[in-house]
Amino acid sequence: MADSGKVNEGGKDYAEKLDRLLKFLYDPEENDIEAVRENLAGYGIDPNELVSEGLSLVKFLEKQERTKLARMKRRRLAEVFDKLRKIDPQRPIDEVRRRIDEIFKTGDGSQFALAFFHKHEDLSDDDLRNLLSEAELLKLLEEEKKRLETSEE
């Protein structure tokens, strides 16, 4: 057994020494890329083949993830579009006013929202309907942006 005669019971002195010895022997210094390549060749790994295989994998993964992302964005845009289509432009004017109040009161208090909130009572029915369409669109886009940010953190 060990020439020192005793193993450190419950300790890890020798295990740590062996760890360092293995690190010294097998873990190449990373800033020396030639040493890394030689080290890999020592394991029977061809560094050029390895890089080529790795880059193919990276290329494949990038394509796969970008496709997934594009599909997700398209699906979400379709959802927004679908919600917009359901807005009835000819709804009664009282309902238009109520909805505008709802949107601006539950908004984030932005200058834009406040400005329109104070002015909308002076607008004509057509202008109110146009305002509502734009407000609905902005609201949906804002919700979508928040959803995108929180779900992907």
């Binding site: 060990a2 390895l50 796969q64």
Partner: protein, 190 residues
Amino acid sequence: MIQSERLERLKEQDWPGIILRLTAHAAYKVERLRWQTGKKDLPRGMQVKDLAMEAIKMAWTGERKWNPEKQPDLLKHLKSIVDSLVSHLVESAEHTQRELPREELEQVFDPPDDKSADALDELIAADVISKVKNRIKGDEDLELVLYCIEEGLSTPRDIAQTLGMPVDRVYKAKKKIGIILKKIQEENNG
């Protein structure tokens, strides 16, 4: 960070360098695993490079999401994934059986049936270090290098600096110790 930004950050990395360095790290980890378990091969027909490729895959797909704000160095993130993969291998059923004779344990530990994994690692390591020391006796460079390693150094550059020895002499010693260790490993594996 949103997914599109993350993909962009991943894309702009130095992938050839990462692939080489990550695989070298995986090889070192597997070498360590071999010493811990006495097994020559990875389970399930895996190869060293498979560990590196799996880590890369996990980072891209988000299974082990990379957060550049918390860890700007992607290689470090990937290495930690490799380390977890290797840990899982250690825990896997194929590596749970230890091969050291029970009577050898009983000679060293009190109580004699203490078979904890740490104690066993310590016992195996003590045996290996002892054998290396015996075989390098008389070769001053090798003895000095091993002394430095025992004292906490592990890179040829640090050792060369500490000993005031040219770094190529440390590399020569490294080669010789590597050969000695390989022989000991072969003997231990029968």
